[in-house]
Symmetry: C2
Subunit: 316 residues, 2 copies
Amino acid sequence: MKIDPNHLHMLAAIIDAGGLSEGAVVLNKSQPSVSRSVAMLEQRLGSRLFEKGKRPLRPTELCQTLAEQGRIVGHASAAAQTAVELYSRGKAGTARVAGTPIFMDGVISNMMAAFQTAYPDVAIHQSYGYLAELSDQLGVGNIDLAICPVTPNEVPPHLNFRPIMRGRNVIACAPSHPLARKSSVKLEDIAAYPWIAPPAGSPLYTDLKTALESIGITDFRVSFTGGSLASIISVMAGSDALTVLPYSVVFMQRTAKTITALPIKLLHPERELGLLWHLDRPMRPAVLRFLKFLETEFKGLADRIDERGREAIWRR
Amino acid sequence: MKIDPNHLHMLAAIIDAGGLSEGAVVLNKSQPSVSRSVAMLEQRLGSRLFEKGKRPLRPTELCQTLAEQGRIVGHASAAAQTAVELYSRGKAGTARVAGTPIFMDGVISNMMAAFQTAYPDVAIHQSYGYLAELSDQLGVGNIDLAICPVTPNEVPPHLNFRPIMRGRNVIACAPSHPLARKSSVKLEDIAAYPWIAPPAGSPLYTDLKTALESIGITDFRVSFTGGSLASIISVMAGSDALTVLPYSVVFMQRTAKTITALPIKLLHPERELGLLWHLDRPMRPAVLRFLKFLETEFKGLADRIDERGREAIWRR
DNA sequence: AATCTTCATACCGTCAGGTTATATTGATTG
DNA sequence: CAATCAATATAACCTGACGGTATGAAGATT
């Protein structure tokens, strides 16, 4: 007959509480219940667990050693309990999140930092990808959440899309760039400089083309391509190159002063930055937490961007 | 709702076995049983424990952390199991044993050493006392077993007495003693030497007196009294004093060659060395083991003493 | 598509363990 | 030492968690 961990725990509770009745209170049970359980256990073990007929209840030697294990069981049980609670409140667990490189590096990474200080027990697994891949990964279940610009009518089936920010691109350059000081920039000015292009397959690359076409630039020289945000910033800092970036990315760099936007209006792309997740796959609490966190963060970001925009307008 | 340690253990078993069916085998249960248990647990926790519709059964993150605790529970349970088995076979536990000082030091201690090498997990609590005290201690339940010379008709009530060795006293002295070389010793020889007396209250003290009276010595000089066996041996080694000791005690010192017995026959006391324990207090397995061990040891000892006796006789 | 393996569901019986009420029994005290 | 108190044991009853077998459903494999 195998021994029941619950019984071990019960013994520990009785001993630590100092009596059957007190132990029963600790265990949220009635006194007769634990009394009978002890009696049955004694019978099964074939030896006494508490000395018979001694009123300050005295545990047997065997009982003591069993209670020792019982305390271990109790700890494990309590640990499991708190683990479940943390988990179900989304305060522990893992969130696997992927997104387009520039956004992840330029915007989301900062939010993830904030999230991790708020929820240190939630592990984040980050990866990169564009819409097609992200959709696949969500479908297979390799990631929980994708962050990606999407045109509302091309949302893949079975995926839920929640927009969080209007797409808005700007022409970006280093603060040291000759054009950065000018209050107004003309097309002829721009034409002289080389361009940094995002990776060929990325949406930003098509954005770059359509944006430049929209302001009449059809022929442009690409001097650097394929790098992620850190490379792009470095290259811009050391050259006169220009590039097209989401304004939010530029905005997030405002304190670091590594990028500025030129005062030229580009055509908005149809796409909108948003969160994607699988519809019929229930979201884990930690992921939900992260999602909510991102939403409020983006709301704050949008507000700050608006403010700054108004300021900029007011200054002119 | 509190979490059940059994469930934690079950999760660990399932994961470690690599499937519900395999886990069920490990747990000695049917597959549907564990399947249902898992389902109920999932419902109570409000989150999945195994990913739905994946055939190489994949545990959830939460399930993994719970299983971790489950393994701890499993270990504790197994430890308890072996503890119970060891205990009930008398291979672990405590035996509280008391007895008359000279016997304990001179005979029992050697046997306890042998016992502890055979049963290293049985702790022995030794104490000293004479019959009255021993009886009290047994009655109160402070000791499990007493080893003591008892005259068969003065066995205290409620106590069981099992004789293990005939009482037989001898006159003892150091091997370096002038009388030790003599093949026959006369009373006049003895009269010249001082005596080491056991503690005044001890049975051995009365033995000393009656023994000496039995051989006609009424007036004797006591040069040292009150010491336990180690002291007596030391004093004898450094002096010409004599004393009366149980032959078994002298016998046990044969290899150490610290004491010899003089070839003088003393009157046997009525008492018989034996084991005492409480009648209606069930004996713990470890105590029983120790009791059995003592019995066989004493049997062996008695045989060896007989042999030696025959040898000694043969030599003359 | 067919088959195989494994998990889920249905249904039923049993017993550990929950409850309340009450008896027993060490311990305590005047 | 009787009386009293407090704690444990017992009785009687009931519920539901969990055990089993039989069978359906669904991934995985060929």
